[in-house]
């Protein structure tokens, strides 16, 4: 994935390269390998030692293509390609043979940030139906097929559990 550091000219291609076990990973950034050991982690932040140097990161928020965090004492916003939406999309059947399925289900638990469709709307496969927020990240839920919205089962500001039906699409 591509990461651009806001307010600077820096941009990186990075990905997980290896899992060494015992909380140790190798991350490839611009084709250089960086060894990383996780010291503590939860949904709000992470502490790790990378290249022998300790860092404490707090996640402040994430929208579809921006992620804000405090690294040590520095506020940083990363601009990124929203890869996560795709994963959710694939998991919801969007990637394969989900056409026959009526219900569009939520793949994650979260809060409903916005609903982009109303019953009767004609939608295409991949159209955004709603946006959920979970773990301080915003994720779009896209239609898994072409069709017409039969019902919308969620409301703005409400919450959904994993597996809840978001909409029925005929």
């Amino acid at each position: 994935m591509n990461y651009k550091i806001q307010d600077t000219t820096k941009s990186f291609v990075a990905q997980m390269a290896d899992n060494l076990g015992d909380g140790r990973y190798v991350i490839s950034i611009d084709e250089h390998r960086h060894e990383l050991e996780i010291i503590a982690m939860d949904s709000r932040g992470i502490e790790f030692v990378m290249d022998k140097k300790y860092h404490k990161v707090r996640y402040i928020g994430q929208s579809t293509n921006e992620m804000s965090m405090i690294v040590d004492n520095t506020s940083i916003t990363l601009c990124l390609n929203s890869h996560l939406d795709d994963i959710v999309y694939k998991n919801s059947g969007g990637g394969s043979t989900g056409d026959a399925q009526l219900a569009l289900k939520s793949q994650i638990p979260g809060k409903v940030v916005s609903v982009s469709a109303v019953p009767g709307d004609t939608v295409k496969k991949g159209d955004v139906i709603c946006t959920l927020e979970s773990m301080k990240m915003q994720v779009s839920v896209k239609s898994h097929k072409d069709g017409t919205i039969k019902t919308i089962k969620i409301t703005e500001s409400g919450t959904v559990a994993k597996g809840d039906v978001i909409a029925e699409i005929e």
């Binding site: 994935m1 990461y3 550091i5 806001q6 307010d7 600077t8 820096k10 990186f12 990075a14 990905q15 997980m16 899992n19 076990g21 015992d22 909380g23 990973y25 991350i27 950034i29 960086h34 990383l36 996780i38 010291i39 503590a40 982690m41 939860d42 992470i46 790790f48 990378m50 140097k53 860092h55 990161v57 707090r58 996640y59 992620m67 965090m69 405090i70 690294v71 040590d72 004492n73 520095t74 940083i76 990363l78 990124l80 890869h83 996560l84 994963i87 959710v88 998991n91 793949q107 994650i108 773990m135 990240m137 994993k162």
Partner: protein, 493 residues
């Protein structure tokens, strides 16, 4: 003898006063508004009294409510801190009438210090130089011209009804003065319907230098050295230091003598601060007396070894100052940074809200006076000063580098702070060289440099940020895909 003090304040200064009282075995009473029920000053006092709503007028400025708390708690004295009622001579009078010791000057002296015109007169009578200018209002342009020629151009024409840049003009010659006089008069009449003009010498590249002093009820008067407070924004001090880089021993003594005269001239008792403008040519001009403990008193404590709150209490008890001027020796160098909750890039606008996490710096030569604790809140109802970070060193360089490290160690989550600004200032060649002035930030384009510094800092942290983003998205994916993926079980909360 003072045995129970009501601290009529909040935040770090209330904590500061409580701390000294505790070491002296004096009981303390805190007062708190609705906004402050969960504040440290409530927790650390011997007793705490609720006095009203969040708005200062309904609580910390509510003299009746505070007096009520004094009386029902049985406190024998009030420490006003700074701000709020600290320089309110009505409140000092109220205390005096109720036989409550007000830890500060008498109401009478406070009133004199607060009246700028009367105070200036008293200073002139005591041969304490004030900024040259008309003794009061000028009659007309000719009168102004006469004075301008006496004190020399450039001069400032100021309408007493002006402010914020309006009704003010700098003029450099008789001709400019004539037209300037007309426009200032016009502006003032346009704005408030009347005009009244002062003439004052215009001083460029001035420094703000102030002197701590103390005077007891027996007439003993000492100054406790100077503090340079030239680093300011919108006339608010940001960074203070002592000694001042341009005050040598001889100047310290010469101006110190003026300060002692000034204290006598206003019949002062207890601790006070005499503020001066120091012109670029080396002249010192008295501006005003702050009739209270100052925010920046800890730097004086560091170099003098004194506990200034203890000194206040001793003097309020009628004791003589326990040392002579000649006993005081300046030891080392101290700097204070006022850690404000504000956004430097939004013209220092306040930044408020919950502070879920804080780490407070410590170490040799580091002192941090603060009301912050993890889980506290920075309230929009009160001033933006969250903490005073103070460092001491045997040399200026030691105090400066200790400050930089302490600023690095200070973590305050949830609000914008002035910490990055201070790092830029303390790293600047001008600051290191002691080339200070009240327009320092503007003069040296500090905000632009700060922008550059923050950019560089971001670049330095960018690999760590990218790594954290990669881990976060992997973790998120593993949750979405509902794998009970053992690789995330390690050391997670």
């Amino acid at each position: 003898m003072i045995e129970k003090v009501l601290v009529a304040n909040r935040g770090e200064i209330a904590l500061r006063v409580i701390r000294t009282c505790k070491t002296l075995g004096i009981k303390t009473v805190s007062v708190y508004s609705d906004e402050d029920y969960n504040s440290l000053h409530v927790k650390q006092a011997t007793e705490a009294y609720h006095i009203g709503e969040a708005a200062p007028a309904k609580s910390y400025l509510n003299q009746e409510k505070i007096l009520e708390a004094v009386l029902s708690s049985g406190a024998d004295s009030v420490h006003p801190g700074y701000g709020f009622l600290s320089e309110n001579d009505d409140f000092a009078t109220l205390c005096e009438k109720n036989k409550i010791t007000f830890i500060g000057p008498t109401a009478k002296s406070m009133n004199l210090c607060g009246d700028k015109m009367k105070c200036k007169e008293a200073m002139l009578a005591a041969n304490v130089p004030t900024v040259p200018g008309s003794p009061g209002l000028v009659k007309d342009a000719d009168d102004a011209k006469k004075i301008a020629n006496e004190i020399g151009y450039p001069v400032m024409l100021k309408s007493v009804y002006g402010g914020g840049g309006r009704g003010i003009r700098i003029v450099t010659s008789d001709a400019e003065l004539e037209s300037g006089y007309e426009s200032v008069t016009g502006e003032s009449i346009a704005a408030v319907g009347k005009s009244a003009i002062l003439v004052e010498k215009f001083l460029e590249k001035t420094r703000h230098i102030e002197y701590q002093f103390a005077r007891d009820t027996h007439g003993n008067t000492v100054h406790i050295f100077e503090r340079e407070c030239s680093i300011q924004r919108r006339n608010q001090k940001l960074i203070e230091q002592t000694p001042s880089p341009i005050v040598d021993a001889k100047t310290r003594q010469r101006v110190g003598e003026l300060v002692r005269n000034a204290a006598v001239a206003v019949g002062y008792t207890n601790l006070g601060t005499a503020e001066f403008l120091r012109a670029d040519n080396g002249e010192f001009y008295f501006i005003e007396i702050n009739a209270r403990l100052q925010v920046e008193h800890p730097i004086t404590e560091f170099v003098s070894g004194l506990d200034l709150v203890k000194l206040q209490i001793d003097i309020a008890n009628g004791e003589p100052i326990p040392f002579k001027q000649s006993d005081l020796k300046m030891n080392g160098y101290a700097i204070e940074c006022r850690i404000n909750a504000e956004d430097t890039f939004l013209d220092f606008a306040p930044s408020t809200g919950p502070v879920p996490d804080v780490s407070i710096p410590a170490g040799p030569g580091v002192r941090c006076d603060t009301y912050l604790y993890p889980g506290c809140t920075v309230s929009p109802f009160y001033d933006s000063l969250m903490a005073k970070l103070v460092t001491w060193g045997q040399t200026f360089e030691e105090s400066r580098t200790r400050m930089l490290c302490a600023l690095d160690d200070f973590y305050i989550q949830g609000v914008e702070t002035s910490i990055p600004l201070y790092k830029t200032i303390l790293n600047s060649a001008e600051y290191k060289n002691g080339d200070l002035s009240t327009d320092f930030i503007k003069r040296y384009g500090i905000i632009d440099r700060l922008t550059e510094d923050l950019k560089r800092e971001k670049e330095e942290k960018s690999l760590a940020a990218v790594a954290a983003a990669v881990i976060h998205s992997e973790y998120f994916k593993s949750r979405v895909q509902d794998k009970t993926n053992s690789k995330w079980s390690h050391r997670l909360e």
